[in-house]
Symmetry: C2
């Protein structure tokens, strides 16, 4: 059985896009080879962890040499499905939603917000950064028609669950949830929470309760 078919640890999977992004940088700057130590310095991940992560995919490097940037890059391109464009929908064109529509970082990575939804009639029918805004009533129809199964949720939290139920009904498989609501979904649906207010609060908690010496022990 080839290594690619084994299940990758979740922690590793979360680092793959990070590696990929940095490898692209290396490539554009014309670098031919890279060691796990160099990579470690750049992405702030222990070099042993990097080698371990890579090893799940087989022996990608050469002892005494390191990794060939081109080879690694093309390998990750395949692994991360960067050849095909993944289309996602954005639900809720408020401040945060609009920021994402404007933000260019989504365009880099073969991921694109293809359409957005809102209930505000003044937004419906317009285009924001070339992304068309539809009314929520058209959610199921549009998502099915365009075969979109990933949604970014940036709606007010009190409607988050209701809209999530619509999303589930519309065959969405993954939700990037920026609302503070903890969503109830069937087990087959994957939800990633990004709770901005909790991130800020927990950062503050760590600062107040964990002395610098401890942080050294953790991050160094």
């Amino acid at each position: 059985m080839s290594p690619e078919h084994l299940k990758i640890p979740q922690a590793t999977a979360k680092r793959l896009p990070l590696y990929y992004r940095f490898l692209k940088n290396l490539h554009s700057s014309g670098k031919q080879r890279v060691s796990s130590a160099e990579l470690s310095e750049a992405v702030k991940v222990d070099s042993a962890t990097i080698r371990r992560d890579f090893s799940y995919f087989g022996a990608l490097g050469k002892k005494g040499y390191g990794y060939n940037v081109n080879y690694l890059l093309s390998f990750f391109r395949k692994t991360l499905d960067q050849d095909e464009l993944t289309k996602v929908a954005l639900i809720g064109v408020g401040n945060l939603g609009t920021a994402f529509l404007n933000y260019n970082f989504l365009k880099n990575n073969n991921t694109i917000i293809e359409l957005a939804f809102d209930v505000d009639e003044s937004k419906v029918g317009t285009r924001i950064c070339d992304v068309p805004v539809y009314h929520m009533d058209e959610l199921e129809e549009q998502l099915n028609q365009r075969d979109i199964s990933v949604a970014i949720l940036t709606v007010p939290s009190h409607v988050a669950q209701t809209i999530t139920d619509y999303l589930v009904k519309s065959n969405v498989k993954g939700i990037l949830n920026f609302t503070p609501a903890r969503l109830t979904v069937p087990a087959a649906i994957r939800v990633h929470h990004i709770d901005l207010s909790i991130e800020l609060q927990s950062l503050i908690y760590f600062l107040k309760h964990y002395p610098s010496s401890d942080i050294q022990a953790i991050t160094d």
Copy 2:
């Protein structure tokens, strides 16, 4: 030694603001008591994990009864320093930065963006949602004067490291980094990364490579 002085696991610390928020909801709806099972349903954290989390702070509940909402709430208020307002600075008034200035979720939690910085002269001197925008040149002076040690970083990634160096020089201790850059900071400085593009990419990776049955095993 009282339990409050023991070090709390990082995973637990990250859940505390979540518990706190839900307890506030319970309180406003007039509920007097709550069990770990109820809490579990609401915040989607295993009830045993919740009891374990609470137990780091001592015996907060009563067997056969559960937890007193008021007591728990006031305990967490103290623990999370919710009595004092934590002031933070926002660096970079672009799309995302503006969204945060508009977003109300920061006002809830005794955390406030007190001022913002940018280099764009058309923004400097204005107020966005009542938050004054200063020029980057005034960073050190303003932060020291106002005794601010936490910053939200929403600048273009190519200037992220340079600005981070300024922040460190200005005695900032914690940075919430929304740029894709991996920042180099002294060990005593704490950085939390929120990398939106990586979150989206890893969500997509999980959807494509982890069958629903596995997700069931993980999240159910």
